[in-house]
């Protein structure tokens, strides 16, 4: 196959060629960046929470006076445990994807605050109910659960669990158990390290959700009240959560159930990533529409060129070109245009990505996306040009003898 005659033919249709190549270049840039954004969203959605999501739910109530907190906790936990199917009920501050919990900067040297962490609090038995996996040290024993000060957030010294991610961040390469850190006036000593415990709103830290969480063992009362962790078998959880709301109306008719934050952890997770899922769906929709429009553009233009060159095709056929030659001519022509577009598109994709990284929180485009996008566009181009090219190959040689 000779490329030179194709190139000189394209030179005659310079403008149309450039336009279709630009269209492909733009499609390539959008395709790469949209695909990278979809991947980012999906990987954010796959965050490991570190808790047994399918077995857990949270029930949150508000509208009680602070002095009723201890009494309410006792009644709620006792009442919730009587619901058939409930394996355990605990007083907790929040769960991953649940209502906003306590967040604070922490320090090792009282000078710098290198990380912001999430503090979870829970009563005895909570780590087991959550399903936390211990990787070093030990789980809190009964002694580690301390009474909450009446008018404050935490006791002066708490013995806590930290996540592996936080331990690695604070003490890289060292044994974390026994180490200490501070948040304002509060002191913490690490007694154990758990594999994972996601921050309750991982996305607040951007898509890099570091999983820097601390679990503070605490006895119910004071500020640790109003949110209750319910554990049940996965298949019974939905029924249990409905029964729990009915039960609350009996146990404590004067409190207000916070319906927005009283759900299974699975549901809260789905809600939490709703916007990401919608965005990913939208991006997929755009990619499909984009490829469709590009393909239609190629079909339209190729059809026109075929119609325009009927006579030339006839002459070529008359002087000995086979059908396959004609077919291959149009296929090669398309390949050249798409290649031209893809080369431009790769440059454009990188430029667009750099601009997006500057303005939005978009991650760097993995370079291996580029060859894949090129292949996709080549295939798309070949498929789109196939029908017009086949039509061209069926032009009979006799056309050459007719005028116009």
């Amino acid at each position: 196959m000779q490329i030179k005659p194709i190139l000189s033919a394209l030179k005659k249709h310079r403008l149309a060629t450039i336009l279709i190549a630009l269209e492909i270049a733009l499609a390539c840039a959008v395709l790469c960046n949209a695909a990278s954004m979809i991947a980012t969203r999906l990987s954010a959605m796959n965050i490991v929470s570190g808790v047994d999501e399918s077995s857990l739910g949270i029930l949150t109530v508000t509208g009680y006076a602070p002095d009723q907190a201890s009494d309410l906790n006792a009644r709620m936990v006792a009442g919730l445990r009587t619901i058939p199917g409930v394996e355990s009920a605990h007083v907790v501050s929040t769960v991953p994807f649940g209502p906003q919990g306590a967040v604070s900067g922490i320090t090792l040297d009282h000078k710098t605050y290198p990380v912001v962490v999430e503090f979870y609090e829970g009563d005895p038995g909570t780590p087991k109910a959550l399903g936390l996996k211990l990787v070093a040290g030990h789980m809190p024993v009964l002694d580690d659960y301390q009474v909450q000060p009446k008018n404050g957030y935490l006791p002066a010294l708490s013995r806590v669990l930290v996540t592996r991610a936080l331990a690695t961040r604070l003490w890289p390469g060292e044994q974390a158990v026994g180490k200490q850190f501070w948040a304002g006036p509060f002191q913490f000593r690490v007694i154990g390290v758990v594999a994972n415990l996601a921050m309750d709103h991982p996305a607040w830290w951007g898509k890099r959700a570091p999983g820097w969480s601390v679990f503070v063992p605490a006895l119910p009362g004071g500020l640790l009240s109003g949110s209750y962790l319910i554990r049940a078998k996965p298949q019974e959880l939905n029924r249990v959560m409905v029964a729990a709301q009915a039960k609350v109306r009996k146990i404590a008719p004067n409190v207000v159930i916070d319906h927005a934050s009283s759900h299974t952890v699975g549901y809260l997770r789905a809600q939490f990533f709703k916007a990401d899922r919608a965005m990913a769906g939208l991006l997929i929709g755009v990619i499909v529409a984009l490829l469709g429009v590009t393909a239609l553009g190629i079909v339209g233009l190729a059809s026109f060129w075929v119609a325009q060159r009927r006579k030339q095709i006839g002459i070529r056929r008359a002087i000995g070109a086979t059908r396959a030659d004609i077919l291959r001519y149009f296929q090669t022509e398309n390949f050249l245009i798409v290649t031209f577009g893809v080369v431009l598109g790769i440059i454009l994709a990188i430029v667009v990505n750099l601009a997006l990284m500057h303005v939005f929180e978009v991650s760097r485009l993995p370079l291996w996306y580029l060859p894949i996008a090129a292949v996709v566009l080549w295939i798309l181009g070949q498929l789109a040009v196939l029908a017009p090219a086949l039509r061209a190959s069926h032009v009979p040689p006799v056309v050459a003898t007719r005028s116009v």
């Binding site: 336009l19 959008v30 006076a65 709703k274 916007a275 965005m279 239609l296 059809s303 325009q308």
Partner: protein, 440 residues
Amino acid sequence: MFGYYFHLALRSLRRNKVLTALMVLAIAVGIGAAMTTLTVMHILSGDPLPGKSAQIFYPQVDPMPASAYSKSHPLPQMDYRSAVDLWSAHRANRQALFVDSPVKVQAPKSNLPPLMLTLASTTADFFPMFNVPFEYGSGWTAADDTSHARVVVISNDLNNRLFAGKDSVGKTLRVNKSSVRIVGVLKPWHPSPRFYSVFGAVSGFGQGMPAYAKAEDVFVPFFTGIDINDGAFQQYTCWGRVKHPGHLVNAPCLWVALWVELDSPAKVASYRAFLTHYAQQQKALGRFANTDTRMLDLMGWLDHIHVVPSDVKLQTWLAFAFLAICLFNTVGLLLAKFLRRAGEIGVRRALGASRRAVFAQCLVEAGLIGLIGGIGGLLLTYVGLWLVRRQGAAYAGLVHLDVSMFIVTFALAIAVSLIAGALPALRASRIAPALQLKTL
């Protein structure tokens, strides 16, 4: 002549139906995508107080100690003392303190379960300053502010829920543990964004998005709110220990906002000077470490706190990139189409048509495609907006196509197709007649 060209364009479009359909579809899809996202942008970044927003300002001072942490600007809220000092100076035409807190509300003699609502504690100027419409009664007076009067203004929605929409002025309501008398019921009022109570912490991840939540249901005088809902206030941030969580008066915390209305540039300048003077005076007293102040107008403030979610901005860029692809597509197809008629055009030129006439004829054809594409785009925009509403974001309920966006849709469609048509039409008009006639 236009009528004739229009007729010719129709004939030409009918001659090759598939190609026409392709071009119309490309424009329609591009317009549909661009207009859907543009409508969402238009609604989210709209002016919540048209005609008045330029007179509304958000003053800020910086009460944080120097050691708190490094930053270049005052944080979004103020401590109690600074806010009340500035408010009680009454240097602006109108001024309103503002703070939100969660509260339990119950209608006495009703068997409805208690409700957990958001309590807005503000001062009398709030209602006239933000053009808040009243269904029944009115706001409270400045005297009610200073006397900690137990009065309340409720939303239309709450009035419907508790009093079945009847005039409830004069009735009482249990707000936390206090009885308050209703003095006003609002008309349905949905400022979007809820501009007066977004103070940063607007996350760009589509999560929560308090900026587009509905307005508060209960409004009480500022100092009344501080009294009756003590213990429920939440700080933006604190730089020292809070003795009693939820009780923030005199605590080292940022939690109160102040809005002012200034009706002339001179007033604005003098208020800025007043702010600077206040900050310097407080520094001299040893209460402030920084004398930075800032006062943005309403739209400037909304822009500063990035009230439009970044996802929405990203979608808009994406949609316009898509529209550009559709545009290239249409240009390519029109070019092919016009040049294929080179013979026909050559004859017209030879018979005396000017280049301009040929150009006009081609543009009319392109414009017609744009018009049909615009109608298709409009339908697709409705579909797109329906999809956005189904997506369930916090702003979903607000999304609709208003008259201005309806017109923009058609303007955009025709502009796009004229731009798409200009280049091919130019090429067509430059066809040399002699060359074409020779090949006939």
